[in-house]
Symmetry: C2
Subunit: 379 residues, 2 copies
């Protein structure tokens, strides 16, 4: 596709930020990205906001207009929502706007303020990402949905409880140095396996937390980059969006994600790259099983071999902590992944992959009804 | 801009549809648009859904994935939200996608199921379109916000209570023949003025209702239209999006809408048309004062003369009943306006404007933080 550049980004602290409102988070993220990119605020042509459920979390719909106002921006403001993939959706739609020629630059913010409601209300709100008529109504939580997938995967492919745990262990290890992460302590396989059962076989340390936070990037057209003489931007080499049924019960196979498979095929086709060209991967470990399914469905390993891949592979994944350690402010996560890949490709990550030239970010909505993948690269 | 065509559309009944779920409405609207346009379902490249608050109204977020699933579509599904302008926002983003070359066709659906919650909960949810921190929190309703605008307009410009009422009278008159409208009875100025006070000076018959409903259109690239030999499509001649502060208290002047002024300037510039070229207008009469402010802010009359314009002008406005008579399922309204202009330009409106060649639709979000305008035309 026509070249689109990322020229800066920012992430707020992720965590239980009692002292910050949704507006505070958006303001910090927006100013942070503008400052990091070095552009003038007046050069921002439009705002794309990824947010899942501010209506239920803080009583605010019209969220993009609210966000623009937080930043005193009088530009078209578009809220994009696809549950936990809202961040990547906003990013992808901003890229499309620039491709269309209707804008030269876009500020993309992902934000979610989740801790203003009590925990059970947050869990109920998150179930809005599933099928409200057939899943939420019978009391299925998201941990429950992913537990069904995990159990099926363990049954069919002999994936072990330990292999699931290793996903969380890796991501906590990576998050230790991340000052923006919600959880910065190492855990062991034994810790995971002995933590409280949430939805069998998933335990507390298999699950990403409830989090407040925001993340942001500035995207720009190639013309803009040349005009402003911006050096060494990161380029968007592919952007894809796969879909599947919203309810788990409608899927032919719950041990894989058809949406991820489709998005992976499309993004590799578009970028012209192969799996071996990818130096670093951010992927959606809302629950540990999802990292395994994601790796398989994207084709980084054979179907059913994700557990072994997690044990043995040296592919750098979730190098800043993933959703498990960073935390998962649902609308922000997809944008946070993009920034973390951006930083890897700029050579400034906290856990730098030496010589990283191409990175991939997979953001999943719900139990896989939406999968959005971006491949970024440097020249 | 590069030419984008509308090739079909559909509207469900609008009203208190106790027997229909959000899914039912989306399914009917989606199938209706596909059928009306004559394309195959497999030819739909992507789905853009306008929806304000399904999370609060029916417990469903991830609404576009839900909608795609209702139609068994496995295509990228994007929910766009900008409060009451969500419908036009979805339409505008679909046009941008086609402009970008990443899709040839898009199904755009606007949908809202509002009557599954009690009235006070619906009013609270709608306040999410305003500033949650500064307006909703002090108990200001949307009727309250527009009442402030109406009172200021009456005070400054001598706009009369009768002139406000004439907006509702006109729109009810136009909606009488509309089988899809929620209210199909004529009203008089006296009826409006003597109806119950909602927020002084606005009365019951100044206010659009709480409504269930969906509307849909198919947009396509010029190449697709030529390839499929589609005859006499309607073209999108301009698409603009203006923004303003989300809270009324931050505006320099609450008797006009800066967002509408900006969007109007942009859309006339883009289309190359003048006000006198517009044969028919759909505009956002959520409360009667908003039709007057919309006409002024778009430049159809001088500032302060909107009341007189409503009394005297022969410009056909809201020819199918507007939000007042059709009903206002918030996410659906912007798409419903587009279809109604489309039908005027195809010569098949229930209140046909003879020889209509150009039509304009203004969809407003909240108290004016978002204004989206489209100009459509035939060749």
């Amino acid at each position: 596709m026509k070249k689109i550049a990322i020229i800066g980004g920012y992430q707020t602290a992720f965590g239980e930020l009692w002292e910050k409102s949704l507006g505070d988070l958006i303001e910090e993220a927006g100013i942070g990205a503008i400052s990091d990119s070095g552009i003038e605020k007046n050069d921002v042509n439009c705002l794309y906001l990824g947010n899942m459920a501010a209506g239920r979390f803080v009583g605010q719909e019209h969220v993009a207009a609210f966000a623009a106002d937080c930043l005193s921006l009088k530009v078209p403001a578009i809220r994009c929502e696809a549950a936990c993939a809202s961040g990547a959706l906003a990013f992808s739609q901003a890229c499309i706007k620039i491709l269309s020629g209707k804008a030269e630059t876009a500020l993309v913010i992902g934000a979610e303020k989740m801790t203003d409601v009590i925990g059970s209300e947050a869990v109920t709100t998150l179930m809005g990402a599933g099928d409200s008529e057939w899943e939420s109504s019978i009391g299925l939580t998201f941990a429950g949905l992913y537990a069904l997938m995990a159990r099926a995967h363990m049954h069919r492919y002999k994936t072990t409880r330990e292999q699931l745990a290793m996903v969380a262990v890796n991501n906590h290890k990576n998050g230790q140095k991340n000052e923006k992460a919600q959880f910065r302590f190492p855990i062991t396989v034994d810790d995971v396996i002995k933590s409280a059962v949430i939805a069998d076989p998933l335990r507390l340390l298999d699950c990403s937390p409830i989090t407040d936070g925001a993340a942001s990037v500035i995207v720009a057209s190639e013309d803009y980059v040349q005009k402003k003489k911006i050096e060494n931007p990161v380029w968007v080499l592919g952007s894809s969006h796969g879909s599947d049924s919203i309810g788990l019960h409608d899927r032919a196979d719950i041990t894989e994600m058809a949406s991820v498979k489709k998005a992976a095929k499309d993004v590799f086709d578009e970028s012209g790259l192969k799996h071996k060209d990818i130096d670093v991967v951010e992927l959606h470990d809302c629950f540990t099983i999802n990292e395994i399914i994601g790796l398989e469905s994207m084709g980084f390993c054979e179907k059913g071999k994700g557990g072994t891949f997690v044990e043995e592979s040296e592919l750098p994944t979730n190098t800043t902590g993933g959703l498990k350690s960073c935390g998962h402010p649902v609308g922000a996560t997809g944008v946070r992944q993009i920034i973390d890949i951006y930083r890897q490709l700029k050579g400034v990550s906290i856990n730098q992959v030496k010589g990283a030239e191409h990175g991939l970010a997979l953001n999943v909505g719900g139990s896989g009804a939406t999968a959005i993948i971006h491949i970024l690269g440097v020249e």
